[in-house]
């Protein structure tokens, strides 16, 4: 296969690769008209029982100046919701929250645009994202899925790397002799 076709194939594979949603990523409202970048501290991996920070950077000209129009809601798997106090700075919304225990939570940013809500002008913009908290306080143990493919891949590639190292070490003199311009 020529190099040109190989490059085209790589690009095609990249384009067709299924997408996975994740934190510290772009999420859009229900109409896919407005986007927001969500980032959670620490390191996108909050610890249950410890303070964490939730940041939204909303791609709007400017957020409503009245902070009561911007609400951040965190809902646990039992459906219990908590409204998180937020601070608004330009297009950025920040909130501090301690996830009470490990689990899967839904983070929902709701912005009241003040529009009429009729026709093409939605009243509310809603950004929703799921967040799994895997560290810290445990109340109900989470399912820990097995990734058999990953275990097989780890063993296979680790073994191959070990073989490669052995090959290099045992033949290093000849490699050094042949390997030069």
């Amino acid at each position: 296969m020529s190099k040109k076709w190989l490059l085209a194939l790589l690009i095609a594979l990249a384009v067709l690769t299924p997408q996975a949603a994740s934190a510290h990523v772009v999420i859009t409202d229900a109409r896919h008209e407005v986007g927001a970048v969500l980032h959670i501290n620490p390191d996108d991996d909050p610890v249950a029982g410890e303070p964490s920070s939730i940041f939204f950077d909303v791609r709007m000209a400017v957020l409503p100046s009245d902070p009561h129009l911007v609400n951040l809601k965190v809902t646990n798997s039992a459906g219990e919701s908590t409204y998180v106090p937020t601070s608004v700075d330009g297009t950025k919304v920040a909130g501090a929250y301690s996830f009470p225990s490990q689990g899967v939570y839904q983070i929902n940013l709701i912005i009241d645009t003040g529009r009429s809500g009729t026709g093409d002008q939605p009243r509310y913009l809603s950004f929703v994202q799921s967040q799994r908290v895997s560290r810290g306080v445990i109340s109900n143990p989470l399912d820990t899925p097995q990734f058999v493919w990953a275990e097989v891949l780890l063993i296979a590639s680790g073994g191959a790397l070990a073989i490669l190292i052995v090959m290099f070490v045992t033949d290093h003199r000849r490699i050094i002799t042949y390997s030069h311009d």
Partner: protein, 265 residues
């Protein structure tokens, strides 16, 4: 009789150090993928970490590739110098490989595709653009790393193309600084400054030596030029936070109006 390495004429690839570098890079990428998937249960976080680790590995490989030229100035054994020089091409290709993985995962795993780029804040777009330029440069350099291409281009033009590696490095620094999550922490900033300052020091000496040789100036001029270049480049790096803020530093600083929550439901 001079023994030269022509990978496609040798009885086996296994006598070429470039094979080991490239093969180990591919295996390391698979090990990282598998390890992170096992260790991190959350799909979201495993994608983020994978993108971060691949980006870090690309940066390390690029750094090593750039350091080889200055290291060749040191009083090392000729055999060691030959090996370093010969290995550099494979190290550069590995940097391009990890950069491609990093970019693909970030673009389609985190951002959600090309159509989502329009939703990104300006600073992230600039950072991704810088990263995109670095990626394109690295891929072009990787594509032209074959002996046949070097012969076709002639060594002179091929060597000229390798200079673009410094543009890739500069764009990588900008990309990492603007968007790197861990760059918001001072320890990461210090590590970056020390590593880059070391590289700047070596490169400053290399440039100063080349210039003074061409201009036939004295050793004092060489030292002065070297120190000036080193100080200037390091100062520009250290002062970068003053005129370019890391995206995550903005978030860590907080501010704005506070609105109390409406309580529980």
């Amino acid at each position: 009789m001079k023994q030269t390495a022509h990978p496609w004429r040798l009885a086996s690839l296994t006598q070429n150090v470039r094979f080991y570098i490239l093969a180990s890079s591919i295996l390391v990428s698979l090990i990282v993928l598998a390890w992170l998937r096992i260790q991190i249960v959350a799909d979201q976080l495993s994608v983020i970490r994978l993108e971060q680790v691949y980006g870090f590995l690309s940066t390390i490989y690029l750094y090593v590739a750039l350091m080889i030229s200055p290291l060749l100035m040191l009083p090392l054994r000729e055999g060691v110098k030959r090996q370093l020089k010969f290995s550099r091409r494979a190290i550069g290709v590995s940097a391009a490989y990890f950069a491609l993985l990093h970019s693909g995962i970030a673009l389609w795993g985190q951002i959600g595709g090309l159509d989502k780029l329009a939703f990104l804040p300006a600073k992230l777009v600039w950072s991704l653009s810088a990263g995109g330029v670095a990626l394109v440069v690295l891929l072009i350099m990787a594509a032209t790393s074959f002996d046949k291409v070097v012969r076709g281009m002639t060594f002179r033009w091929w060597k000229w193309l390798q200079r673009f590696g410094y543009i890739a490095a500069l764009m990588t620094v900008l990309h990492v600084w603007l968007i790197g999550t861990h760059l918001a922490y001072s320890w990461a900033q210090w590590m970056g400054v020390i590593a880059l300052s070391l590289l700047f020091g070596f490169e400053s000496f290399r440039i100063a030596r080349s210039l003074t040789r061409q201009l036939h100036t004295s050793r004092i001029v060489l030292v002065a030029m070297c120190l000036l270049l080193w100080a200037g480049s390091t100062a520009a790096l250290v002062m970068m936070p003053r005129y370019l803020k890391n995206y995550h530093s903005d978030q860590h600083s907080g501010g704005g109006q506070v609105h109390g929550g409406a309580g529980h439901e």
